[in-house]
Subunit: 342 residues, 2 copies
């Protein structure tokens, strides 16, 4: 079958992760799980929102490296991207690290795209790779919508860009393990197609991404897998609107993921937080939920077998002004916790 | 040695390439080498420059696939990126192809970044991957400098963004060969660091990229290689200003590449073309020079052993307005022509 599931030829372990988030995220249900939060003003000591976003990436990778006891020389490559024009969050944030750098652009799918490429590179030869991404509510609003000072109203389907950065270190080196009782291992990968179903509402990213997530999951389950194998099927970040569309699309093809589905955008903020509307979004959303919450639960044995489909809306204000619609993409990573022999 | 030269564990062949370019490029020394040029108005039949750029990517990959006799099902992944915000040249240009998609952002280094990642993925398992990139003079001027209608003057150190797209298909499948007498094979890879030497002149990208190219080449030659092994050491695209800086930086470290060095930005336009100033630039520059010229010369046995260092200035107008300087990056691909047994 062309473009089928990829099974890495080496054992790929996610040995460490780091997460940094903002004030709103700190007040959400996962607030206690992040390595660091700026509860004052989300500036992380910087003078601009873009520099604050870069600083979050620098910090997140620093936490991941520190937890794994690694220095720059012991990481072979890093994959990073973000939502900002020219990916300045990553370019400037990670320039401090003397580690070979591959810039990505996958919008909100960047965490999964980075994990996927890191896994493939670790599969080509024994090595360690980092995947890093971020988003910042204030830099994203300014670039994609309106500067905050404008005080614009938001629609019920709009999502709230997460202020946060997540970093992951993957390894195919023999002795490498996570510091948890269980090590999250990358079992399978399924990269996504660019899927465009004609959505052109800049305030409904979930609807633009849901068909891409559905396509990737449908192709995955067509190869002999069943939703019941998994403790959790995680998408990031469709939000409430997109999640409903995803489940309906899959249901129409005979797949019921309802009882197992969790969307990173739906669990990062409290449901009663009115201004978050349809939930969280942004590259940082799935990155911090995976780094701070899901991987920890796998590490502690609470979750055993999960699918993570990172979804991105490849949305461009200029392209929309020129009458284009919003393409989406969804990359799948199958992660399983494994108790390592002592 | 940490971050040393990567030698793919499988034989990686560049089996095909495609190139599309504009009117100015058609009038340059390589004008006869492109698969297609729009000699009328660089619009490629589209209503906006951004859509024209997307169309060039679609065409370039189409040519590469046609030459190799491949359809969508026989390519396992594509790596693509461009200079436009949110990489719309790639997202929209390649959405027509049902091939798993990895979005990149490497500025003008994207051709080399794509080749490098395609090589690593082909090295992980027998597979075929495409790398595609583009730039368009009119979309780049509008986004990074001024709309053309403004009629701004350009400085002597400024480079001219190439209107063009190049696509490459790499393979580690046993029977795959280029249609030339010699097949260009990827021997070695050396990804770059993000290097920032404090350049903040938006009209001197060459100076921002030269230190990154010098760093990558210096690290490469420190591992036992000598410039004299190579028929050509190709950088893309430092232009005339950046090329001089690169050679001086390497000379100060005891490396003389002068007689072998060619920069893609210096050979795409006629030297007497006054408004091109310091030469060509843009993701499309090294992409079309490699796709249409260098790989053909390797295929025909004119060149045997070459180094290609794709260089990118990770330049952001917003970051410069906030007082940041311009980081650069240089990714190295060592390519050798091999006569295949019949």
């Amino acid at each position: 079958m062309p473009h089928g599931i990829i099974r890495p030829q080496k054992k790929i372990r996610i040995i460490s992760s780091g997460s940094v988030a903002g004030r709103e995220e700190q007040m959400g249900p996962l607030g206690g799980s992040f390595d660091m939060t700026d509860t004052k003003d989300d500036s992380f000591g910087m003078k601009t929102w873009e520099k604050a976003e870069s600083e979050m990436q620098r910090l997140a990778l620093g936490f991941a490296m520190e937890k794994a006891g690694l220095d720059e020389d012991s990481i072979d490559a890093m994959f990073a991207g973000d939502l900002l024009n020219q990916c300045v969050g990553s370019n400037y944030g990670l320039a401090d690290y003397k580690i070979p750098y591959f810039g990505l652009y996958g919008a909100c799918s960047t965490a999964s795209e980075g994990m996927l490429l890191a896994s493939l590179v670790c599969s080509a030869a024994p090595s360690r790779c980092a995947a890093v991404t971020s988003s910042h509510y204030c830099s994203a609003e300014r670039q994609f919508r309106f500067p905050l000072e404008y005080g614009g109203q938001r629609t019920p389907t709009s999502q709230w860009t997460v202020t946060g950065s997540g970093a992951f270190i993957l390894s195919s080196l023999d002795g490498d393990r996570a510091s948890y009782p269980y090590t999250p291992c990358v079992e399978e990968l399924l990269p996504g197609y660019v899927i465009d179903r004609g959505i052109n509402n800049i305030n409904n990213m979930g609807a633009a991404m849901a068909p891409a997530a559905a396509d990737t999951l449908y192709r995955y389950f067509s190869e002999g897998h069943s939703p019941s194998e998994f403790d959790m099927i995680i998408t990031g970040d469709l939000g409430r609107e997109g999640s409903e569309i995803l489940k309906e699309l899959l249901y129409s093809k005979g797949l019921d993921i309802d009882s197992r589905h969790v969307d990173c955008g739906n669990i990062i903020y409290n449901a009663e937080s009115a201004d978050k509307h349809a939930g969280g979004s942004g590259c940082g959303c799935s990155a911090v939920v995976m780094a701070a919450h899901i991987l920890r639960n796998i590490g502690e044995g609470v979750l055993g077998n999960v699918l993570f489909v990172g979804t991105g809306a490849l949305m461009s204000p200029l392209a929309l002004n020129q009458g284009s619609t919003i393409p989406g993409i969804g990359h799948l990573v199958h992660i399983k916790g494994e108790k390592e022999a002592e």
